[in-house]
């Protein structure tokens, strides 16, 4: 076999073509059972597209909701099954001919993504918040996303009671990509997973029912910047291939470590060239840091978070962050352990500016969604502090933080959907004045989420922050801990400001009303509060879980 196998799954056919010509097809070996979580979601997404095509308009919403919930639940059950039969620990290995890792971190993060997605899908399906349009109950999504905002076609669609039930298949495709992202074990799979979850998310951002122009603008911004960062990532992958002669994580790691000396003739000029490695890795890291929203690659976050339909924002803020940090962890711990001394200073810098930048800029925000966007940037910085620890403790602390953070985020955005005035959601902070007087319960729940964001003890936010800071301190990043603590203090200021506004300010006469949600959003918020408190008071079980899951397979 003289030709170099670029990648065993993607290029089996090319590699195995016999020299004499003729096609000898060799089927790739795929461990279907181990990939079942992803496969279930992809299958359901395909089915959902068919539902969209064949089920009558009236029944679509229920069919889609049912299908999504069942698929996510089934995928989660598959994850639990895999974990129970030891794939997270002893039987962890690399499936699908090297493309997908089935190991502790992958299963833990996939489980987190699925649970967060389930809750997010509930908020997608909420139909009691917006006032009925022409006798039809409507959700947060445009009646006809293709109609120009303000046009006759749009009015007709609203009048006919259309709804964009396509959001469910889109969400399912996105979830499939998100599941594959942290499990990707070679750079091509990484890139494909990235595109699979990014494209549906771009679309989902564009389909808000209210403030449609803003929503479309957000989607275009997200798409353009996202495409740009994908290009960086892809270019980085090409350079790394030139360096290592492979896109497989394990093989790249071997070349980095110097254990592989074999040089393929086709790449003799470039292989082992450190410049390629460093530039390529820098480009790949840029692509990933864009997805986690780290400074200086964060510019899209506030605009997209603000413009996207709020349920989508919550989904995106939680699930994307989990998946992207998973991918980042795997890349740094599996591919680049030999390069720790090179990437650490850079990531230190990124973490510091991310923590401080997110927290400081958030102070000046006047829109609750933008405020939460900057807060998510600051939290990205805290998580990076755990990533940088470069110890097993660092991995498990990041896993735990992501679990804690995603439920607080979805819950917080779900609360944002409840506070409404005539123009839809009232996201300007001035409108939240006196909310505590008018709706003590909603304000109290939101206060719990804000306190968790601020990292006050007895909430999940504190346990998570403590875990990552502890890991960072033990990993020798004491300075990061001090910066993290200082930016927590800054961040506390604006979370507290919102609490002050809600409880201690006089309500305005034309203030917003709090819509009474259906059981769907109530569940989403209730789960958020429950997870926040349980992870704050009794985190041991989940820390154990994260600890067991904290080892990457190579």
């Amino acid at each position: 076999m003289s030709t170099v196998s670029v990648h065993s799954l993607w290029t089996t056919l090319a590699a195995d073509t016999p020299p004499g010509g003729g096609l000898k097809f060799q089927a790739p070996t795929i461990e279907y059972a181990q990939l079942s979580p992803i496969l279930i979601i992809v299958g359901a997404a395909v089915l959902a597209v068919l539902v969209e095509a064949f089920v009558p308009r009236k029944g679509r919403y229920y069919a889609q909701l049912f299908l999504s919930v069942v698929a996510i639940a089934a995928a989660f059950a598959a994850i639990v099954g895999l974990a129970a039969s030891g794939f997270g620990t002893t039987k962890a290995h690399i499936a699908a001919m090297g493309a997908i890792a089935v190991d502790g971190p992958a299963l833990f993060l996939q489980g987190t993504i699925l649970l967060a997605s389930l809750v997010a899908v509930f908020t997608f399906a909420e139909r009691k918040l917006d006032p009925e349009a022409h006798g039809n109950r409507v959700d947060s999504f445009a009646a006809d996303a293709a109609a120009v905002p303000g046009s006759d076609a749009e009015k007709a669609a609203v009048k006919a009671g259309f709804t964009t039930t396509e959001v469910f298949p889109l969400a399912l495709f996105a979830i499939a990509g998100l599941l594959a992202f942290p499990a990707a074990n070679d750079l091509l799979t990484l890139f494909i997973a990235l595109e699979v979850f990014s494209l549906p998310l771009y679309l989902l951002c564009a389909v808000a029912r209210r403030k449609r122009l803003m929503s479309q603008e957000a989607a275009v911004k997200y798409f353009l910047l996202g495409a740009f960062s994908s290009a960086f990532l892809l270019f980085g992958i090409a350079l790394i291939y030139g360096y290592a002669g492979s896109v497989s994580y394990a093989k790249i790691a071997d070349v980095v470590d110097g254990t592989t000396q074999q040089i393929s003739p086709a790449l003799a000029g470039t292989m082992g060239n450190d410049a390629l490695l460093l530039i390529g890795m820098a480009l790949i890291l840029m692509g990933l840091l864009f997805k986690v929203g780290a400074v200086p690659f964060h510019m899209w976050t506030p605009d997209v978070y603000q413009g996207a339909p709020t349920p989508v924002t919550g989904f995106m803020a939680a699930a994307t962050k989990v998946a992207a940090f998973g991918a980042l962890l795997r890349l740094l711990y599996v591919v680049l352990p030999g390069l720790t001394w090179d990437w650490r200073p850079v990531m230190w810098g990124v973490a510091i500016v991310t923590m401080l930048g997110g927290a400081i800029v958030a102070i000046t925000q006047t829109d609750i969604k933008r405020l939460l966007a900057y807060s998510s940037i600051a939290h990205g910085g805290f998580i990076l502090a755990g990533v940088i620890a470069a110890t097993p403790d660092g991995i498990s602390s990041v896993l735990f933080y992501l679990l804690a953070y995603s439920f607080v985020t979805i819950g917080a955005f779900a609360v944002v959907t409840l506070v409404r005035d005539a123009g839809g959601e009232a996201t300007h902070l001035s409108k939240w004045a006196g909310l505590g007087r008018r709706s003590p319960l909603v304000a109290a729940v939101f206060a719990v989420f804000l306190l968790a964001f601020a990292g006050i003890p007895l909430t999940s936010g504190f346990a998570g922050k403590f875990a990552v800071f502890k890991a960072a301190a033990e990993g020798g990043a004491g300075v990061l801990v001090v910066v993290g603590v200082l930016s927590s203090a800054v961040a506390a200021f604006f979370y507290i400001r919102v609490i002050v506004l809600m409880f201690f300010s006089e309500p305005k006469a034309d203030g917003p009303t709090v819509a009474v949600p259906s059981v769907l959003t109530t569940t989403a918020i209730g789960v958020g509060v429950a997870v926040t408190l349980v992870l704050g008071v009794a985190p041991q079980y989940f820390l154990d879980l994260a600890n067991q899951a904290g080892i990457f397979v190579r």
């Binding site: 504190f462 502890k470 301190a473 603590v485 506390a492 507290i496 201690f504 300010s505 006089e506 041991q540």
Partner: protein, 524 residues
């Protein structure tokens, strides 16, 4: 397993808080009685702790220990020494008075044209919540456990300050609300920043020791298994001390206290200064000295200077105040200076004096502040200039106010005298010059208390004061027991010193210090 008495002492008020909050909005009075009942129950439990505690027994008694978060090395470890017992007793004792004194502070606001609902239940629930968290902080022998409640108690405190302000305000309602939320935010941010800096030090401590348990750390130290370089110890000490100095509050980190005490209702002001702030000084004794003995000694000169500045500066500013509640706040800053001085004098008189001071200051400030609150609620103003001649129309009020004031200036015969004297003796033995300067605080205290009394209570009766009613039965039930205690502990402080002294011996041992030998000139 024996009955977890210490847990119960903290759980009872917490349960009370939840039940009180759950009382339906219409049954306001029932909620108040329920809260009072739970606070009295806590007092009973605290009394049991006091009785079961053996002053000359082990250092930490009634201990409980369970693993809580194994991963962080966190234990649910409780135990009390004499200092803790005294402060738990103080807390449990003061809360019922705070509740009775604040009986009507959270009732709906009735103005000319409308009646505004206020979360009355919430007020009492929050007070009980603070009590629970303060008590567990006094009991925790695990650094992390302590830290959690040290931070978490800020939240209920914050809502108490910001949500239920003093109605006696010279400006408009809106101006009052703005100032109140400013005070609440200032309180929270100061303490949160202090707490977060402490968090960095807590994490640092863990990376050095691998545990949070005081007993395990003490064991490590005894075995020589603790490797803490001088610099690390000093940095960690500073992290802890900063948080406690904000809480205590020590100059120059004190500026949140006058705002918070001025804007909060009088009972909440008492809660801040008499109960919550004591956690700061208590923690200096328990954590700073015990965990970082060498660094504590290293920092002593600087801390003594800061404490002296607190004493003199607080007293001077108290003299210049026009607002009764802010005057008491600055007086408290001066008194906290004495407490910190006593702790860091590193003599046994100084430290037991400081502990007594914490208890006595709690009682005397409660007496003065609560009577001041009754006075202010009658006239609707906090400004000293708005009063005059009150002793002619409300003699009992004026008399109790005077006793509270005299206790604040440490008149012999009242409890604070004993503690202030002990602190000064302890300081003088080690640092004579510091002791002499600190004495000036007493002189200034006489000035601000007596001038306050003279301006408000004596002289011609002002027109607005002429119809003032004297103390009612509810108010008397608050004031009389406090005064009895002040006199009782002033004449016979032995029961308290007996409990505190053995504990102080332990802290002295922690820092490896002995009292300076008295030097007597040999007889010729």
């Amino acid at each position: 397993m024996s009955f977890p008495l210490l847990t119960a002492t903290a759980v009872l008020p917490a349960a009370g808080a939840i039940l009180t909050a759950a009382v339906p909005a219409a049954r306001r009075t029932a909620a108040k009685w329920l809260a009072l009942l739970f606070s009295l129950g806590t007092l009973v439990l605290a009394a049991v702790v006091l009785v079961r505690f053996e002053p000359n027994g082990d250092r930490y008694q009634l201990t409980e220990s369970h693993t809580w978060i194994k991963d962080f090395g966190v234990h649910y470890e409780l135990g009390v020494d004499g200092i803790g017992v005294a402060l738990i007793a103080l807390t449990a004792l003061l809360i019922p008075f705070v509740i009775v004194a604040g009986w009507k502070d959270a009732d709906p606001l009735e103005t000319k044209d409308n009646k505004r609902w206020r979360p009355t239940q919430g007020f009492f629930a929050l007070i009980l919540m603070v009590e629970a968290m303060v008590i567990i902080s006094f009991e925790a022998t695990d650094v992390f456990l302590f830290y959690i409640f040290f931070e978490a108690m800020l939240i209920p405190m914050y809502f108490l300050i910001g949500g239920f302000g003093d109605r006696a305000h010279s400006g408009t309602d809106e101006a009052a609300a703005t100032q109140r939320s400013y005070a609440a935010v200032k309180f929270l941010l100061y303490n949160l920043v202090g707490g977060l800096i402490m968090l960095a030090a807590v994490i640092g401590l863990y990376t050095v020791t691998g545990t949070f348990s005081l007993s395990e750390i003490a064991e490590l130290r005894a075995n020589g298994g603790l490797e803490m370089s001088t610099n690390v110890e000093r940095l960690l000490f500073l992290g802890f001390f900063f948080a406690f100095a904000v809480k205590a509050p020590l100059w120059p980190l004190h500026t949140w206290l006058p705002n918070a005490m001025g804007e909060a209702t009088a009972p909440v002001a008492v809660l801040i200064t008499a109960v919550v702030d004591k956690v700061g000084t208590f923690a200096m004794l328990r954590f700073c000295l015990q965990l970082f003995p060498e660094a504590s000694k290293w920092a002593t000169p600087a801390i003594l200077v800061l404490a002296l500045i607190s004493i003199v500066y607080g007293a001077l500013l108290a003299v210049g105040q026009r607002d009764i509640k802010r005057l008491v706040a600055y007086a408290s800053i001066s008194h906290f200076g004495f407490i910190i001085l006593g702790i860091f004098a590193m003599t046994s008189q100084g430290q037991s004096g400081a502990t007594l001071y914490m208890v006595n200051h709690g009682i005397s400030t409660a007496a003065l502040m609560l009577v001041a609150g009754f006075l202010i609620s009658r006239r609707g103003s906090r400004l000293i200039a708005d009063y005059g001649g009150v002793q002619k129309v409300a003699p009992v009020l004026a008399g109790t106010f005077l006793i509270g004031g005299l206790a604040t200036l440490s008149l012999p015969g009242l409890a604070p005298f004993v503690s202030e004297f002990l602190v000064l003796v302890g300081v003088f033995a080690a640092y004579p010059v510091v002791g002499i300067i600190a004495t000036s605080g007493i002189v200034l205290a006489a000035l601000y208390v007596l001038v306050l009394y003279q301006r408000t209570m004596t002289g011609p009766v002002k027109a607005e004061v002429s119809g003032m009613k004297d103390l009612k039965a509810r108010e008397l039930t608050v004031v009389v027991p406090l005064i009895v205690l002040l006199i009782g502990l002033g004449v016979f402080p032995k029961p308290l010193t007996d409990i505190v002294n053995p504990a102080v011996t332990h802290t002295m041992h922690d820092v490896n210090k002995q009292d300076p030998k008295p030097e007597v000139e040999a007889a010729k």
